[in-house]
Amino acid sequence: MSVNIAVILAMGAAVGFLSGLFGVGGGFLITPLLIFYNIPPAIAVATGANQVVASSTSGALAHFKKGTIDFKLGTVLLTGGVFGSSLGVWVFSLLRSAGQLDLFVSLLYVALLGTVGGMMLVESVRAMRRAASGEAPSLRRPGQHNWVHRLPLKMRFRTSKLFVSVIPVLGLGAVIGFLASIMGVGGGFIMVPALIYLLKVPTNVVIGTSLYQIVFTGAYTTIVHATTNQTVDIVLAFLLMVGGVAGAQYGAKAGQRLRGEQLRALLALLVLAVAARLGFDLFVPPASVYSLSSLSGI
């Protein structure tokens, strides 16, 4: 595979800038961008998972220093993540030899990015309206319980001041692991809202804990993909990382000048645009209805 080094570095920097600006990992942008650049989706996904490790390491270290990581919660999430990721890599190989991986990756991206982007857009528009009318945002009252808190096998997480069943925690970890291996994403865009709204984890430890578990889920996914599918491209990933790490710094600075709900609305539009483009490509008649691949699907 011959690619232009400058293009990949720029891609990494652009995504890094956006991830710094919006405070997201950027894995959900890297993989589609690589696909748009004609990198086979199998390589794009596995390499994306590798890139996610680098970007989340930076963030996790910062939170480690501030002490805003719940290691116990993160480790339970990670246990679920290992199962989910193993299942995901297995499904990935299966889909690849059946020639359906590209379709599945695109559909998953369209569904997830469409949902998350749509929800974010609605939420941020509402927040902007509220701000314009001078209304105070309705805060969630602490101690509010839902069905999740009635499940058995409870465990205490001191840092998060939580006493919840491990079932939803393991389940959430597994879903994130599965998405990491099939989509090459860290999964922060699902993990963070799920931790806040479903498990009622205090917001100050949510990001750190999520990043901590993403580092390890991403690392595990990278190793399993490299071992089973040989689809990790170390050089490609490194170029993305270098661009990404540099870009993130400028993004973070730029982000300080914009208001929260405006940022979220922009991110939502970006996410929706990526989903729309991936979805659109599924309906465009291909240049040739025939394609060639090896037995393993590359």
């Binding site: 595979m1 680098a54 991403g218 993130a248 394609s291 060639l292 037995l295």
Partner: protein, 266 residues
């Protein structure tokens, strides 16, 4: 009479030799020409930014009939054939408006690449039947489906699609006029190597035609390898997947950590 006797003895081998030569003359093959090709190197290294190149192959025609050579009635076809591997050909069709892979056929031992250079246009060298018999040219190489019992019409469509896709990607190519005679006996063939040329052992073959009749063939091997660093990375990725994955993770963690050191001073 010792002297004539000696002369006779001396003459005898010469006479015998002449007799033998005379007897053999009608049996000498009508086409004594031989063809040889040589590559300046037996390995070609490609780097990650390889954008395609021309490979030049020199060859010589020995015992060529000067009359035929002057009239340009010798033709040479040079083929560079890549390693053979199984290939899956998939066909998309419209399902709920989306283009989805719905049918596939597997072919065994498909040459990954096939570049041809010829002295003249195909039809001026020999007949289509000879090309078919020799399986010469991208349209004539044998493409064998794994499931031979399949519907012949479908198989024919997929076989045609396989050739067409290979040509579209530049892996199957031809260059008419790519073989040039530099003198009556020396020729130079230029075959294109596409940017996505497969790594592995390639075989260069030269076919000599005289007046539309195939005469001789000569071949040489060429290894196409990824250059130094890339080759090592490629080998490790294929053979030591776990170590490769581990290295990828270590690099990622170090990059993330270094990024924090360089840019953030909190």
């Amino acid at each position: 009479m010792p002297i004539p006797c000696l002369a006779f003895i001396v003459l005898l081998p010469a006479l015998l030799a002449a007799a033998v030569a005379q007897a053999q003359a009608p049996e000498t093959p009508p086409n004594p020409e031989t063809i040889q090709i040589g590559l300046s190197t037996d390995r070609v290294y490609i780097t990650s930014d390889f954008a395609g190149a021309d490979l030049t192959i020199f060859g010589a025609l020995d015992f060529a009939d000067p009359l035929f050579a002057r009239q340009g009635r010798y033709d040479v076809i040079v083929v560079l054939e890549g390693p053979a591997r199984p290939v899956v050909v998939r066909r998309k069709s419209r399902v709920l408006g989306m283009w989805i892979n719905t049918w596939s056929e597997t072919f065994v031992n498909v040459p990954m690449s096939y570049s041809v250079a010829t002295t003249r246009v195909w039809q001026d060298i020999t007949s289509p039947d000879s090309y078919r018999q020799m399986a010469l040219g991208a349209d004539n190489i044998a493409l064998i489906p794994q499931n031979r019992a399949g519907d012949p019409l479908t198989l024919a469509q997929f076989t045609a699609a396989l050739r067409e896709r290979k040509k579209a990607s530049g892996l199957y190519s031809e260059r008419v006029g790519g073989v040039q005679f530099l003198s009556q006996s020396l020729f130079r063939a230029t075959v294109p190597l596409s940017a996505n040329v497969p790594v592995g052992t390639h075989r260069a073959r030269a076919f000599l035609f005289k007046n539309g009749v195939f005469i001789k063939e000569s071949s040489a091997q060429l290894a196409i390898l990824k250059a130094g660093f890339e080759q090592r990375v490629h080998t490790i990725a294929q053979q030591h997947g776990f170590l490769y994955g581990l290295a990828a993770v270590v690099i990622a963690i170090l990059t993330g950590w270094a990024g924090r050191l360089v840019f953030r001073r909190d």
